[in-house]
């Protein structure tokens, strides 16, 4: 019974750690790292949906009665991984520019500067 939803619970814990990192940390790079973890957690959720006990990777074999895991979630997550790295790249390039113009990547220090101007 405990293992029925074990993977889902790990997904929830990872998601929470990721979300907490994003909201609570004021360093922008740390925020991006948290955001990456937040997204990775969702990958686990989807891939778990596709798993069939005793199944094999969805690559067709020349044998009868093979059980394949569901390929659809795999496809969706391939797309989601790409989206994730695209977001990371853009976020990091913004951070690099923020560092150049504000001289810091700490959210609180940036807010102080913004309030002054």
């Amino acid at each position: 019974m405990f293992f029925d939803h074990f993977n889902y619970w790990v997904f929830v814990i990872l998601l929470m750690i990721g979300l907490y990192t994003v909201i609570s940390r004021s360093n922008l790079v740390k925020k991006m790292i948290g955001l990456s973890m937040f997204q990775i957690a969702v990958f686990l959720f989807y891939i778990t949906i596709g798993k069939v006990e005793g199944g094999t990777a969805p690559i067709l074999l020349d044998k009868p009665d093979v059980v394949y895991s569901n390929p659809l979630p795999h496809v969706l997550i391939l797309t989601a991984i790409v989206v994730g790295v695209a977001t990371t790249a853009l976020g990091l390039s913004l951070i690099a520019r923020i560092k150049e113009t504000f001289g810091t990547i700490d959210e609180e220090e940036i807010l102080e500067q913004e309030d002054k101007s």
Binding site: F3, D4, H5, F6, N7, Y8, V12, I13, M16, I17, L19, Y20, T21, I23, S24, R25, S26, K30, I33, S36, M37, I40, F43, I47, T48, I49, G50, K51, V52, E53, G55, A57, P58, I59, Y68, S69, N70, P71, L72, P73, H74, V75, L76, L78, I81, V82, V85, A86, T88, A89, L90, L92, S93, A96, R97, K99, E100, T101, I105, E108
Partner: protein, 349 residues
């Protein structure tokens, strides 16, 4: 035994995530994030998602880490202690987590691995698994679904990576306004060897990296092409191949200097390749429209539908591979070109 591995990996995952949260050195946090991604890739293997595992390892543990390191080289790696109260964030995450746990505590919630869940028994999965062999004739079902049944999603994915490519070009091509914060980059931890700074030019002293990478790079490139064209039969495809090929070029730049890579693939060429991949993918779709089908209907590409599918998948995967390689390089060039004052190459030989 399998359960044991599973649980062990999961615990490692959570431990890794927690240490990412608490560690103050961003360099360490980045490495830990790479480790978390890699453990996740291992878990994906145990969950039969080999294609996803491949991609997660190449992207999450590979390219992402390079991007983070490139950023840290520009912004410094120390995280200041935050004075902020962390009650509200904690509550928010607990609410989100609680809602999810609540959802799983239901008799109707499908059990992990069960074969009778709606996702497994639906006619959608059934057709992909049982018919794709005849309809598309490609052993790797993931490739069939990715490139054909849901080919339009993948086209969207290529456009996403294209967007990131031109986005980074736009944001990081901005002229630098100030040059006085050079001292800020000096707090990079000493553990970072020169090869890890993306902009770092090769130096004659790094003999070992030079020799090793010279041996490795041809194989990396060869492997990329294998992954590109073998994606129909085993795990792999345009996306993974693109990432690996880009990794080969990036490794070359790291060891021998950006200058040499840009002699082979200049910024302008990379931009053209970025565009070419998207247009190749979209062009296949347009040709199917002209041939009387709908957008991306490969059946009409050839007299024999299965041959048409093969041709279509080959071409769109190539489009994916080209755009991904170019986008990764464009992004890397953007970050590497940012660290100014270090633009001169040192001849390694």
């Amino acid at each position: 035994m399998e359960e044991f591995t599973d649980i062990f990996l999961m615990l490692l995952l959570v431990a890794g995530a927690l240490s990412v949260l608490y560690v103050r050195n961003l360099f360490v946090a980045t490495m830990l994030l790479g480790a978390v991604s890699f453990i996740m890739a291992l878990i994906f293997v145990t969950l039969d998602a080999v294609d996803v595992a491949f991609t997660e390892a190449a992207v999450g543990a590979g390219i992402s880490t390079v991007l983070y390191l490139g950023t840290l080289a520009l912004v410094g790696s120390h995280e200041k202690a935050s004075a902020r109260k962390s009650v509200v964030p904690l509550l928010l995450s607990l609410v989100v987590g609680g809602a999810l746990i609540y959802a799983t505590l239901d008799d109707k919630m499908p059990v992990v691995g069960a074969a009778d869940t709606p996702a497994q028994t639906s006619k959608v999965a059934d057709r992909y698994i049982n018919k794709s062999g005849d309809e598309i004739g490609v052993p790797n079902i993931v490739t069939s679904v990715l490139a054909s049944y849901r080919g339009f999603d993948t086209f969207g994915e290529v456009v996403v990576i294209f967007t990131a490519g031109i986005g980074v070009l736009l944001i990081l091509s901005q002229m630098r306004l100030r040059k006085e914060e050079k001292e800020d980059v000096s707090d990079i931890p000493t553990s970072e060897t020169p090869a890890e700074k993306p902009d770092q030019q090769g130096s004659p002293h790094d003999l070992v990296p030079h020799v090793v990478s010279k041996l490795l790079i041809p194989f990396i490139m060869l492997f990329a092409f294998y992954v590109q064209f073998h994606g129909d039969f085993g795990p792999g495809g345009g996306f993974q191949a693109g990432v690996i090929l880009a990794a080969g070029f990036i490794l070359y730049s790291l060891v021998f200097g950006l200058h040499f890579t840009q002699q082979i693939l200049s910024k302008r060429v990379v931009e053209y390749l970025l565009v070419a991949g998207v247009l190749l993918y979209g062009g296949v779709g347009i040709v199917s429209m002209i041939n009387g089908g709908t957008f991306l209907d490969y059946n009409v590409l050839s007299a024999d539908p299965v041959a048409g599918q093969h041709l279509g998948i080959l071409l769109v995967e190539l489009g994916v591979g080209i755009t991904v390689t170019a986008a990764m390089l464009a992004i890397f060039y953007g970050f590497a070109g940012r660290a100014d004052g270090r633009g001169e190459d040192v001849n390694p030989e």
